[in-house]
Structures are given as structure tokens and as C-alpha cells.
Symmetry: C3
Subunit: 354 residues, 3 copies
């Protein structure tokens, strides 16, 4: 696959991968707020575009002029190194100008103020806005008022679409035949409060995986109901919810451990980190329940010794740094695809640059 | 008007606008510390150069090589998003390299230390220095010791020249015949502690506006004396000072509400935000006293519901986001004009880069 | 000397300077962790490369494409303006893409976590990593796990190699015959806790200087033993350790005052800043003990009135801002030399981007 990265048009890419066979698909989205609105062919287009970006990253000078002169503003209301830097590097690799804004959550107390901030950021020249916010849904509000493209870098407990896409890309890259269909994938930990889990449920079931969510019962609350409701809707993904760690890990193809937040103990949902580690920590012994070549994943940053043992984190089957490096390529792909939409259709009704 | 943005010379621009008719003017300033030293033709030159920058911003790739290889350092001793990002985007649009330094006020306790910081920043390569400082006059001290150009991004209660210039530009752009002469402009709020108001007094009276300053008596202290002194000096601007909101708003062409700082209540100058909102908040009812097509302005960030009602902030007559986007263009214009001065005359006696 | 700054090969440079006569030397280091592993010809190569970088800095547009498309990540676990900005400007002058990460020390409590951070930063695309850390040795741990080049920007009390190299460059540039051989250099202050002093001991004794370390006895602890051990090893540098300020300053060619940290008083090592200033502060009277043309140096930031009097800090013999501007050139030279090593030999066994 070849992309003309200096050109403005987004190519139509032949996509011939299960579960949905299609011949061609054009990118039509202006924002990336979650993965739930992406059709399978669109997800495939992201994957193929990511392949092209990985080729770029493998060059001695991994910089292409695709977004030259574009302003990508990274507005983070929560501290982050990994996701913020990943977007920054992705944008700079495409030759965009990057502006970082670290906003203290405290200065935004009302929805109106967030809208003011979004209007201001746009008036300052932002054409693409990467946003992380502690309140679920905040990027949707931003998208309603921003004339360019909004990329959700994580909102509350709701969604983290770029993480789900990089997770999917990493699994496809590392699984023997590059397909998730029928593969047993286990997400292990605090599912209830995890935007990573929530977005992954959408993309992994769409990819045809046999998805299992596992953790303490207090951190799975309400997910059983989602699972059974989802199973009744044709075309919706099915997944298992259980606190039985052995059942979940048995013959798994992929095990993804989630970070345990210390706040969960203050709220009484977890007795202690030590007890969590004892009951649900991913150790070598437990990993032995999975398939011999099972992949180990983690969105980072890791609490080694809590949700994942140090020798599992550095295990040859761990693809945790692959997730990070693929994250840069996935975000390059998304920025590239969204920029193409903006160029063909122009900004939204709010207009940008006046 | 056409500017050769890749070239080094600053063009002489025909200026034929009241109140001062002139044929040509050359830019001669090395710093922008306040608007009070700018002659009217110089202000006109800034306005015309801003027009050219707005043309640049309207291009698909709004980047020109004017300041390629120049180092613009943004040294802010007070938190700011809007002004900092505006300067950063302006400098990057001109292809400058931008260095951000967020300095904690606490680490600068003595004047000597500020001078050391300025010398260090210059030795590190800064050729243009954008500075915000909590102490009035600090950028003047910096200019005494810096070999390049200093741009004041706000100092204490003293001055905020780029805000005044972007306000002036926005009014001229939106008022029917592009002139402020005889137009009634009301600045509403905490005039006493506002560097925005202070700089605007200079530029708006120079533009020939009928300027009214309005707010609670405790926040106007001393301004009556300034007004009457100013009125006695030939060539100096005249303005009204009043706490009578209805008289101020009557038939106004422009109403600019200022942000109310919560610190004012701690110091006993304001009883409460609620009382301020009740007596001086800009509501739709009060705005009806102004002319039907009066402009609504605010330097941001807004306390909606305090100094400005939400439905006024988003009113069709509000030009608040225009102020923000024009701010980028005005700052591009100033950086461009100052860079021309540096190139023709070289750095100051302190020298730069040794 | 001419360097092809757009080309990838590192030239072999004729080095014919005492104390070690050599004809040619090739740069073989992948990291800069301290100066102690640099041979004298290698130090000379850094000096000559710095000369070339100063020529670049003297150009109207001081930007060369040497590191175009390279990712230089600046990961600082301690607050810093001077060193961080110096590296940032150096990297940008070489056209690298720079990513800044300000890491709170508190979030890194275990060695494993630092290793995870290093792996993540590399997976995010960092090819050269500039690192400052409060724990001595941390950059060595980073170098063990990072596939590119690590540059130590200061670790605990241990080392600050780029500071030592810029100090050496500044002395050679300003001393009459450009040589340190036999020159009396005094480092004055809190030697015990100073990474600047520690790195300078290596490079200055290698340069053949007559080095004296002077300060209160509590801040020299253990250094006498180092001095006498060092003197017994052939080829190792000799230096004097004394609390006798007059003896140290007598006929000195260079006097370098170090910053006194206020924390030293909390730990009982210093009675008060006032007493330190009275007994060891570098005043004009004391400077008169040195040679008439002695150089005054300080790594900054200065506590004027404590370790250095204001009139000494701004004395014509003070080369403190030269140190800062030479620091940019030295760091450009090091980034350039390290990049050449990476290109010839490829990244380490950990690999990068892949």
C-alpha cells in the first residue's frame, strides 16, 4: 500500500478482511470521539493507513510533509505523558505545528467555560484538537463547538479510542494470522472505571474476538447487564463478564492487564493493593493458564507488582512497548485521515479562522 | 497592500487615515512595552501589517518564512493560556523557533535576579523576548538589559499593549466605516487594576474615540484625576469616568466588559461577585441601552454570569472570538515589524550571541 | 575547521594540542554520562566541534539541518530553566524535533519504573534522550535500557558533564594562550554536593590545570581522601583541597563560585547564608587576591550577595554569560557527534522504533 503523504486526497483503500467484506471505503469522519461509530471497513482503513505510517517511521528521517502548516493543539485537562507525547510526536512526524496546553481541571467548573475555551483555542488557530478531560462526554461537547477535528485522548471513564485502535493493531500484528476472529482476549482489572476497556469492548467485538472481562465483582458492576443487552441486539458484540480468573485465562490468546488506580481503595471498592495483587495480579503462574504463545498487554503506566508481576511485564510475550510505538503510528494515521476530511469538506458550520 | 514576508526589509506603507494624516512612516521601535509611545501613523502601520497577516492566516497553509531561524522566547511569570498560545502560534506562523519558559514568580524576588534571568535568556539565544510579569515595569527593566526585542505580554496593572492593539483592530474591522472617531466606547469593570484598560485608554483616545470608563467607585479610584489632567494637556486624550452604568451605556457603539478577579473581594474592594453581577454585569437588558448594532467585547477569560451574562457573551454582536483570532494576526505583525528593526540596526549595546 | 553539517559522517579532526599529542581521533561514544570516560583527544574533538558550532551561531540564521527529523526528548525530573532551554535550543538549531517531558520525581519511586519510562520514551520515538534526575547514576541505568543516545543533564551530586565541557571551553576561549596547563583554577563553595565540581575535577585535571577546591570544611568532607588517592594513581589528576580562602585565591587565573543551596542549612552543614557570605562570598576585595586578569565564573543561577557579590557578578572579568552561550554551542557539538555514532553503528541491542 502506498500513500502520497504530501498530497491532500485520502486514497480509497481495498479492504478485504473479515468479518465484513467490502471492496472500497472512503473516510467520512471529521472527529474521533470513540470507536463505536467506526464501521469495520473504516477500522480496516485505519489499520492499513497505520501500516503505511509504520513504513514512514522505519525511514532514517521519519518525517513527511502531510500536515505542514497545520496547527494541532493538544489540550489536556488531566496529567499524561504517554498519550500527550504520542500525539505530539505523531503530529510532528507529519510536519504539523504543535501547541501544548496543560489545563488545570480546577479552572473549568462549568460547561459554558469549556465551550469558551474551545472557541478560544479555535480562534487561536487550532485546526485539529486533541483533548483529554476528566468528564465523560467532554470531547463531544467540544466537537459541537469546534470547526476543525476533535480527537479524544481519553474522557472520564468513557472512551479512549486511539488506545483501542493501537491495541487492535498490535494484536493483529502479533497474532499468527493477523485476525482476531474467534481469538480469546481477556481484559483484566478495573473494568468499571476504565475508558480503555470500554473502547476496547467495541473494537474487539467488532473484530470478532471472544472477549472476556475479568476482575473483582465490585469493579464489574453493571457490565453483566451490558453484556446480556448487547447479546440480544443483532450485529452487536458478545462478551463474557466474570470474576473467575482461572476461567478467564484458560486458553487465552491475549491477556491485557489494566492499571489499578489507588483512588479505588479510598472509595471502598478495593480492600488493598496487596489483596488485589494476590487475587488478580497477572503472575507467571497465572499466565501459564493461557495459550503458550499468548500475548501480554498493558496500556501503561504499569504498577509492577500490583496488576502485573515484573517478570510478566518483561516477558518475551509482552508486547507492551509495541503498543507504545504502534500508538504513534495509529495517531499519525488518524491525524492524516481526519486532515483529508477537513480538506475535502472544509471546516464545520462554526468556521475556523474566521 | 503586499508584504514580502520572506524578505528582511520592512516596507514603508502609505497611511492616510485620520486623525493624523501622514504620507509614509517607517517602523523605528525595537520593543513593544506599551502603546503610549506609538504615534498614530505607527499604530496605523501595525493595523495595515495586521491586514496582511490576516491574508496569510486565510491561506490553506498559513505559514511564511519571515522569521525562519529566529529564536522567540516566551517567558511568563504569570499563568496564561490565551496570550501565551497566541504569541506562540504567531511566532510559529512566521517560522520562528519558539522556546516556552514558565517561571514561578516565587523564584524571582529581587530586581537583580530578573536582570540575571534576562541576560541568561539572551545568552541562550533569544532574539525576541515575550514577557509577562506580575510587577508593573518589569519588561522595561528587561528591555534595558536585553540585546534583542522585548514584547510586553502584560505587566502588573500597568500595560498590555498587544491586547489594546488587537482591540483597536477588531473595532475598526467591525465598525461600519472602520473609524473610531467620535465613537462611544465603554470599558466596564475593574478599571483600577486592569492593564487592559490602561493600555486601551491610550490607543482609543489616540484613535479619537469618545471613551467612557465605568465601574464601582472603589475600582475607579484615581482615574478621575488622570482624566482631568489628561484633558488639560493639548494632544492628550479625553475620557469620562463614571459609576453611572446607564449614562455610560446610553447610545454606546462598543461595550467592553473586563474580567472581575476574585482577589478584589479579599481586599474589600468588592462585596461579592453576586452584587457586582447585579449592579454592573452586562445583561441583555443593559445592552439594550447601547446602539442597536453595538459591539460586545471581552479580553477573556470570561466569568459568565458575573461581568457578562451568557446570552450576551454569545450574542451575534459579540466579537469576542474575533478579538482572539485578530490577536494572532496583530502579534504576527508586531513580531514582523520588530524583526525588521533588529535586522536594519542590529541588536542593542548589550549585543546578543556574544 | 569546516564541518559538513548537512552530511551524516562525523569528520576526523586533526588534534594537536597538549597535554596529549595525537594526530586524529574518531568519536566512539554513544552516550555522554560523564566526562571521566573521555580521553583528552576526545575532549579536544568536542572543543573543535564547538568552535564550528559557534560559527553557526554567528550566522544571521543559525540553523543547520544536521539532525533534521531526529527526535530529541528532554526528560527532566528536576526543575531547570537554563540547562533544559540550552539543550532545547541546541537541538532546534540542528533542526531536530524536540519533546519536553517534565517528570515529577514523586511519580518515580522505584528503579523499575524508571526503566519502564525509558522504554516508553524510546517506543514513542526518542532517538536522543537528555535526562536530569535527582538520583546519582540514574542516566547510567537509562543508558542500559535505551537504544539511542543518553546525555546526562545532571544526576544527583554525581555529574554534569555538559557543564564541565562548557566551563572548559569558556576558560580556553578566554585564557591568553588558550591552554589550561599550569593555570590555577579555584572552585569555591559547596564542593561536596556539587555535580558541577565533580565533573570539573575530571576535565580540569585532564587539561593540566592546577586545581584548588575551597569551601567550609563541612562542605569538603571526603575530598581530601579523593585528592590524595588520585595523586597516587599515575595519569590521574592532582588537586588541592582547602578551607583557606586566601591561599586558594592567591594568584588564581580562574575563580569559579558555586551556588549555595539553602537546603544545606536545614541539614546543619551551614550556619546561615549570611555567615557563608561573610566567610566565603566572592567579593571584590577577595578577587583582588587573584591575578589581575583572572576570570570569574559561575554555573548559575546566582544568589547574588551570597556566594558572589553583585559587583563581582557583573565585573568585566566575569564570563558568566559566555558560559551560558558557549553551553548552547557545546551541546550542539555533543548532539552532533553522538548522532554520527548512532548513524554509523545503529542503535543498541534494545533497538529503537521496532
Amino acid at each position: 500500500m502506498t500513500l502520497e503523504l504530501g498530497a491532500s486526497a485520502v486514497p480509497s483503500v481495498p479492504v478485504d478482511v473479515p468479518p465484513l467484506p467490502v471492496a472500497e471505503v472512503a473516510w467520512r469522519h471529521r472527529h474521533i470521539l470513540d470507536v463505536d461509530v467506526l464501521s469495520w471497513p473504516e477500522i480496516e482503513l485505519v489499520m492499513h493507513t497505520t501500516d503505511a505510517m509504520k513504513e514512514v517511521l522505519a525511514r532514517p528521517i521519519s518525517k513527511v510533509p502531510a500536515l505542514r502548516g497545520r496547527n494541532v493543539t493538544i489540550l489536556f485537562y488531566e496529567a499524561s505523558t504517554r498519550t500527550r507525547v504520542s500525539f505530539e510526536v505523531a503530529a510532528k512526524n507529519l510536519s504539523a505545528d504543535v501547541v501544548n496546553i496543560a489545563a488545570a481541571s480546577s479552572s473549568v467548573s462549568k460547561g459554558e467555560s469549556l465551550v469558551d475555551t474551545i472557541r478560544t483555542v479555535e480562534a487561536l488557530g487550532a485546526q485539529m484538537l486533541v483533548m483529554r478531560h476528566g468528564v465523560s462526554g467532554a470531547p463531544y461537547l467540544a466537537a459541537d463547538h469546534f470547526g476543525g477535528s476533535v480527537l479524544n485522548g481519553g474522557d472520564g471513564w468513557h472512551a479512549h479510542p486511539t488506545q483501542a485502535l493501537l491495541d487492535l493493531y498490535t494484536m493483529r500484528e502479533r497474532l499468527p494470522d493477523g485476525s482476531l476472529v474467534g481469538r480469546k482476549v481477556v481484559i483484566l482489572g478495573d473494568i468499571l472505571h476504565s475508558r480503555v476497556a470500554r473502547s476496547n469492548i467495541w473494537s474487539l467485538t467488532a473484530a470478532g474476538a471472544d472477549l472476556w472481562l475479568c476482575g473483582p465483582a465490585t469493579l464489574l458492576r453493571g457490565l453483566e447487564r451490558w453484556a446480556s443487552a448487547s447479546a440480544r441486539i443483532p450485529g452487536h458484540g458478545r462478551f463474557q463478564v466474570t470474576s473467575d480468573l482461572s476461567a478467564a485465562l484458560a486458553d487465552a490468546d491475549v491477556v491485557m492487564a489494566l492499571r489499578i488506580q489507588k483512588e479505588r481503595m479510598a472509595s471502598g471498592l478495593l480492600p488493598s493493593l496487596r489483596e488485589y495483587a494476590a487475587r488478580f495480579g497477572l503472575t507467571l503462574d497465572r499466565l501459564a493458564l493461557a495459550k503458550p504463545d499468548a500475548l501480554v498487554m498493558h496500556p501503561g503506566p504499569m504498577n509492577e507488582g500490583v496488576e502485573i508481576a515484573p517478570d510478566v511485564a518483561t516477558h518475551p510475550r509482552a508486547v507492551i512497548t509495541d503498543q507504545v510505538s504502534n500508538g504513534v503510528a495509529v495517531r499519525m494515521a488518524l491525524l492524516y485521515l481526519l486532515a483529508g476530511t477537513l480538506e475535502r469538506h472544509g471546516p464545520g458550520e462554526e468556521g475556523h479562522r474566521g
